[in-house]
């Protein structure tokens, strides 16, 4: 299996606070890796270093065997806020990355329309974001991330602002799209259930200083139905993670 992402001893401090201890990590191509941890454990810092928004104090970032430390434009990136531009239509938002770099081509637009109609928003291409529900906006944001064709996608709690019902539906939707699009996903979440439901692998992080304290392989098979939520292996993995997060009782 190919290694898509490699981190060599990445460390980052802000002043006297150590946000991230020297951390090394390898992510396989095509895998779905979840990162769970409380606030301040360094997960967002990790993302920002991988995305090139932050320069690490030490270490290197490799994406597809290329050194990309401190540079940007090589990953897809998505936050809890959809960050859709209110002054642009859904279609224009999906093609945002192209517009911000080399300019939008007719192929970009056709791809945007294809993706939108494939994943249920074909009717809303000329709508403005404010006319859409929260879930729909996050799906547009995901499509925007998808069309950039980056093999690595960083998703930072994308469903955190949605209600539980919508969140469940979005998780199922995400799994479907991921399967079809064939990308590598790094997914940050607070929600332990979500991390196990979605991922092949769960990394647990801990604060003060920020570091990875556990790396679990997810035994559950794919495709994942709602039944896995009550599977014994699910519950056991969840129990292990919870203990790590909240201390042994």
């Amino acid at each position: 299996m190919n290694e898509l992402l490699q981190l060599d001893n990445i460390a980052k401090s802000f002043g006297s606070t150590v946000a991230l201890e020297p951390t090394s990590l390898t992510i396989e191509d095509g895998s779905f890796v979840a990162i769970v941890g409380p606030s301040g454990c360094g997960k967002s810092t990790l993302f920002n270093v991988i995305a090139g928004l932050l320069k690490p104090d030490s270490g290197e970032v490799h994406v597809a065997n290329q050194v990309v430390t401190g540079t940007s434009g090589h990953v897809g990136y998505m936050l809890q806020k959809d960050l859709l531009m209110p002054w642009r239509t859904v279609e224009d938002n999906i093609t945002m990355a192209a517009r911000l770099t080399r300019g939008v081509t007719p192929e970009d637009r056709a791809e945007a329309r294809r993706v939108a109609s494939q994943y249920g928003l074909g009717e809303f291409l000329r709508h403005y974001p404010h006319a859409l529900s929260g879930g729909m906006r996050q799906r547009v944001a995901f499509m925007r991330t998808l069309v950039t064709r980056h093999p690595l996608l960083l998703l930072d709690e994308p469903f955190g602002a949605l209600d539980a019902q919508t969140r469940l539906e979005m998780q199922q939707w995400l799994l479907q799209v991921w399967k079809e699009a064939g990308r590598t996903v790094l997914f940050i979440t607070h929600d332990v259930d979500e991390s196990i439901f979605l991922s092949d692998r769960v990394l647990v992080m801990s604060p003060r200083p920020g570091r990875i304290i556990a790396d679990f392989a997810n035994p559950l098979e794919r495709p994942r139905s709602l039944d896995v939520l009550t599977d014994l292996r699910f519950v056991e993995l969840k129990s292990q993670i919870l203990h790590l997060l909240h201390g042994a009782s």
């Binding site: 434009g73 960050l83 911000l100 109609s117 709508h127």
Partner: protein
């Protein structure tokens, strides 16, 4: 139903039903009603005001040399329209030129100050000071430099307009979502593209707020300019009114006030209209069909349901 048979669209989910757009027929009907409301009611209230004015003059036997009846004021305007029209045009010209200059200056200054905090700290106190200067005191110095003619009026209007525009442009640019800017960086966007494609549209609400404030005062500025800087033989609307006042032509005084008010309101409404045109997302849920992005062979209406 679906143009792409192998991949079934995921559109039967509950989350889609949450906000379906209103039907286009309902949109048109409610928009017609809104126009009626937004245009009809102001016209009605103006008519009521004029009626009230007429009533006061008649009931209290107000002498015609104190205050005229509204019809007398209007008649004074229509009777003298030949000589008033070039003066009105002059005031309009001063307003437009001054507003444009003030806007360009305001946007330019605002962008520079938003991008360079050091300049911001240096320039901001000077800006505030500039607004503390009473406009009336500006008249003579400006005329001594720029002479008689349209230039001093344009300067005065620009002086009044640029400040709210600058302040609002600075505010708008400083409040662009930092996460959105980060996202643009992650995508590898250049500074220029980020500025034109994100920062400028993001501050459009602020910008138009500033423009509307400036527009409100622009005509007043032109009138003040006409009063404090002579216009030579061509005259000006303000001087026409001043003249009417000294010559006890009360109907003409009120009439010219009505004309000035009309100019002011029209200019403001023009700016509001340009905001509506420039920022369609604030009023519409669906964008108008663009003339540019039409692709042959792709029929959007058949993308299924």
């Amino acid at each position: 139903m679906d143009s792409n048979p192998q991949k079934a669209p995921l559109s039967t989910m509950n989350i889609d039903r949450a906000t379906l757009p209103r039907s286009s027929v309902r949109v048109t009907r409610s928009r017609r009603r809104a126009v009626l409301r937004n245009v009809g009611i102001p016209i009605l209230s103006i008519a009521l005001l004029l009626l009230l004015w007429e009533a006061i003059v008649v009931v209290f036997h107000v002498a015609p040399y104190i205050a005229p009846r509204p019809l007398a004021a209007i008649q004074s305007v229509t009777d003298n329209w030949g000589s008033l029209w070039p003066l009105v045009l002059g005031t309009i010209r001063e307003t437009i030129y001054g507003f444009v200059c003030g806007t360009i200056l305001g946007i330019g200054l605002g962008v520079v100050m938003a991008k360079a905090p050091f300049l911001h700290r240096m320039v901001y106190p000077v800006l505030v000071l500039s607004q503390g200067v009473p406009i009336i005191a500006l008249g003579a110095p400006i005329v001594l430099i720029l002479g008689f003619g349209i230039a001093p009026k344009v300067v005065i209007v620009a002086w009044i307009v640029f400040f709210p525009v600058t302040v609002n442009v600075v505010a708008g640019l400083s409040h662009v979502d930092q996460d959105l800017l980060n996202l643009a960086r992650v995508y590898g966007a250049s500074e220029w593209r980020t500025f034109f494609l994100i920062e400028i549209p993001a501050s459009s609400t602020s910008l138009f707020a500033g423009l509307k404030i400036g527009a409100t005062y622009a005509v007043t500025g032109a009138i003040i300019g006409e009063l404090v800087s002579p216009s030579g033989a061509s005259g000006s609307l303000a001087l026409y009114q001043e003249h009417a006042n000294t010559n006890f032509n009360v109907a003409a005084v009120y009439g010219t006030t009505m004309v000035m008010t009309a100019i002011g309101i029209s200019w403001f409404l023009l700016i509001v209209a340009s905001e509506v045109v420039a920022t369609p997302w604030q009023r519409r849920t669906v964008a108008r069909r663009s003339l540019f992005h039409r692709e042959p062979g792709v029929d959007l209406t058949s993308t299924g349901h």
